[in-house]
């Protein structure tokens, strides 16, 4: 499949994050797991041992821990721009889960798709784009001068 058929977007940051202070874009993270199921073993281990460190490191993020009857433990990340991301954590170890959660914390809520250009600017030209009357004597274009004066 070519790149034209798949989703893509332009490079951007949410509200110019990083221009001033960096703001962690993760607003809340929800860990849903089972108290007794085998698949939730890694998540239980993470909750008992690692989640408090994560919460202390990311103080702007709310961590919801909800034990409930489920076969597949999940982590749901909600971002400041409204985007959500859900990752299944069944049969993962606590270290793998820590990696997943750190990744989610470092992302913004923008889609993870192909980025068309690795650069973006709001002001592509400072002095103005070239057009045929640039650097020509102004008698060649009186009407343009009038028009610009009328503006």
């Amino acid at each position: 499949m070519t790149g034209r058929a798949t989703a893509s977007r332009f490079l951007q940051s949410v509200l110019h994050n990083g221009l001033g202070r960096y703001v962690c874009q993760l607003s809340r993270i929800t860990l849903a797991f089972s108290k007794g199921s085998q698949t939730s073993r890694g998540v239980r281990d993470y909750v008992e041992n690692h989640v408090v460190d994560f919460a202390k490191k990311h103080q702007g993020t709310v961590v919801y821990i909800s034990p409930r009857r489920c076969h597949v433990p999940k982590v749901t990340a909600e971002y400041l721009n409204g985007g959500t991301k859900v990752v299944a954590l069944n049969s993962k170890s606590a270290e793998e889960i820590a990696q997943v959660i750190t990744l989610m914390a470092n992302q913004s809520g923008l889609d993870v798709v192909r980025i068309r250009k690795p650069f973006h600017t709001e002001h592509p030209s400072i002095q103005g784009l070239w057009q045929p009357f640039v650097n020509k004597r102004s008698q060649l274009s009186p009407r343009i001068a009038e028009w610009k004066g009328a503006q």
Binding site: V51, K56, V63, Y64, I65, P67, R68
Partner: protein, 181 residues
């Protein structure tokens, strides 16, 4: 008479159904005598269903809603052993009482605790006093006084680690939902 005895009677006495179904299960034949004409005759001694037979439900009191015994809270399985010296002193006295021996101060450890009736006396008294019973899977290990001492010196934690988190100081951005669906 037989029809009356079988369904409504059974329903009422054995199944404690609510009263609505009793009203539906009326006896099949109710004869009401409106006149007193043959009240004193020979055949009036035999009822043959002539008297209005009220269902038994109106004579007995209303059935109360069934009382479901509330399940008792699960027993607290946590066990904190007393201090080592205290525990040893207590155990030595209990072993000596159970086996009625008057041996030296350290011999209670070597005391063989497999013989009855001292064994029952010993283990029952320890279970009562210390609050922890030797489970059946470990009874075979209790062969000497020292084994008993080792068993009773191991603490048992009741709560699992998740519930312990409720008691720890958590940072303000952690919220735990305790409703387990």
């Amino acid at each position: 008479m037989a029809a009356y005895m079988c369904r409504s009677f059974y329903l009422f006495t054995f199944q404690q159904r609510p009263r609505t179904c009793l009203l539906r299960a009326a006896p099949f034949a109710v004869y009401r005598t409106y006149s007193n004409a043959n009240a004193g005759g020979f055949w009036e001694k035999f009822s043959f269903g002539k008297h209005s037979k009220e269902p038994l439900g109106t004579q007995l009191p209303e059935p109360e809603p069934p009382v479901v015994p509330m399940p008792s809270s699960p027993p607290n399985l946590s066990y904190n052993p007393p201090e080592a010296a205290e525990l040893e002193a207590f155990l030595s006295s209990v072993v000596r009482d159970a086996y009625s021996t008057h041996t030296g101060p350290e011999d209670w450890r070597c005391q063989d605790v497999t013989s009855e009736p001292g064994r029952t006396r010993l283990l029952a008294r320890l279970a009562r006093e210390l609050g922890r019973t030797v489970p059946g899977s470990q009874l075979h290990e209790m062969r000497r006084g020292d084994d008993v001492r080792r068993f009773y010196s191991i603490p048992v934690r009741d709560k699992n680690r998740l519930e312990q988190m409720a008691t720890k100081d958590l940072p303000p951005n952690i919220k735990i939902n305790w409703d387990y669906e």
